[in-house]
Chain length 274, copies 2
């Protein structure tokens, strides 16, 4: 088994470490790839974040996150697009591999899911010229269907790839096992993404049984039911060999632990069960 | 708008009414279709349940539920099939429109989702001769992907229809809006089910935002985000005009209310928002 690099999505340690502390922790653990969130970048300042990235020759596997396009009014949608343009600038300043999109759900009291999906396609289309000019790839992250209403109305890889086909180059997918592991068409969809050369990121964690909270009870790799090696092989067969980015939201477990301990467990699990 | 009949899935009132009390409540409300659960049938006895159904000329839109096929051992899988054969007999005794299947998830500590799915197809195949001899249709209920690990590894209508195509006549789908509303391929999948003449049931409730419990926090129609009229039209355009079966698991709200009150609200909501 080829050992691919690890990237730390900084949400995994957000309760204990800011941007700089997380980088220090990663370097202590021999991890040289990160994926920060915009609030973490803002807290330290974009210039200082960029300086740290450059000084340590870090790979930034993604910036989390753009998206959240749907809104009830045209002005609201434009404001969301404007925010995405700023997110592109931040991703460019960090020389990130991509800007990850959590595309948003139903706006306001709407029940019009096809309409929200159209707003997403339109929103991505509106940010593409700036993304292309900035050299920043846009990674649509299909979210688990349980988030369709309130977080992301793009819920399968195939649906994301359909949007990619509509919009052309520069738009791809972030494949997070937590969101897609259940998909009966997963193997075919990842293969399709590979043929299109649109896999821009690979996020890992695990699905716990039972899951006690729909947002904040993700598991450490190996503690749940996802066949991580099987999905990794699908992704590698599709031509993606970038770092496996570890993103764990876990308010009652991993978020309560010491950051160095979390990184130690991550390294052990990636080596043994991923 | 054509007013289709209402069926009461007896899970909706399970905390306050047994089989007989629920039938009495339905008749008071002018509802003449029900869908009972096997534990409710067992509690009153199959003969008495059948007598009540016949005496009141009730339509039984489904018996809940068969399924739960995957098991770690061949003996375990056979025991599950045997239980499904008994479920067919119960459905036949009640002259039910179908036996609804919640097919089961990963057996034991398995992470082999494709393997579990094969066990489901094999299990349904094994029960089909008895179903056909008994004149009982088998309705696969695709469950929301958030239940893929522990309740049902069939998670989309298309996936269920693929199984139907493999197995031939007598197997179809129960379309529950709660489980399928998010599917970007919903319209196409329902149309496909219609062409195959495989829609056997139509369950309704609503998806609440936020959803506080992954199993027991379903909403009353109109209280959530599902575009119920849009899905109803897809189903009617696909040729299904059977009762809309109301199935609400709601431990903190509707399960705590008086049964007659719940039926009154159901009737009002079906008339106004479905």
């Amino acid at each position: 088994m080829t050992q691919r690099a690890i990237s730390l999505n900084l949400a995994t340690t957000r309760q204990v470490w800011g941007f700089a502390e997380a980088v220090d922790g990663c370097l202590r653990a021999g991890i040289t790839a990160i994926s920060p969130w915009r609030d973490q970048i803002a807290a330290i300042g974009l210039d200082e974040a960029a300086r740290i990235v450059k000084a340590n020759d870090l790979q930034v596997t993604g910036v989390c996150r753009g998206g959240m396009f749907p809104a009830e009014t045209a002005a609201g949608r434009q404001a969301n697009i404007d925010d995405n343009l700023r997110a592109i600038d931040e991703a460019a300043a960090l020389n990130a591999d991509c800007l990850v999109l959590v595309v948003g759900g139903l706006p306001g009291s709407s029940k019009d899911l096809p309409g929200a999906r159209q707003m997403v396609t339109d929103g991505i289309a509106a940010m593409l010229p700036h993304a292309r000019a900035s050299g920043i790839k846009i990674a649509i992250e299909p979210l688990h269907p349980m988030y369709a209403a309130d977080r992301a109305c793009v819920n399968t890889i195939d649906q994301a790839l359909d949007i990619c086909e509509t919009l052309g180059e520069t738009v791809g997918v972030a494949v997070d096992v937590y969101h897609v592991w259940w998909d009966p068409r997963l193997a075919q969809a990842i293969a399709r993404a590979g043929r299109m050369k649109r896999i821009f990121a690979h996020h890992i964690c695990d699905w716990l049984v039972p899951t006690k909270d729909m947002l904040l009870d993700r598991g450490m790799m190996g503690d749940g039911v996802i066949d991580l090696p099987a999905i990794r092989k699908m992704i590698e067969n599709a031509g993606f060999y970038g770092p496996q980015e570890v993103e764990i939201f876990s308010q009652d477990n991993w978020w309560k632990r010491d950051g160095d301990e979390v990184l130690s467990v991550i390294k052990e699990r990636v080596a043994s069960v991923c």
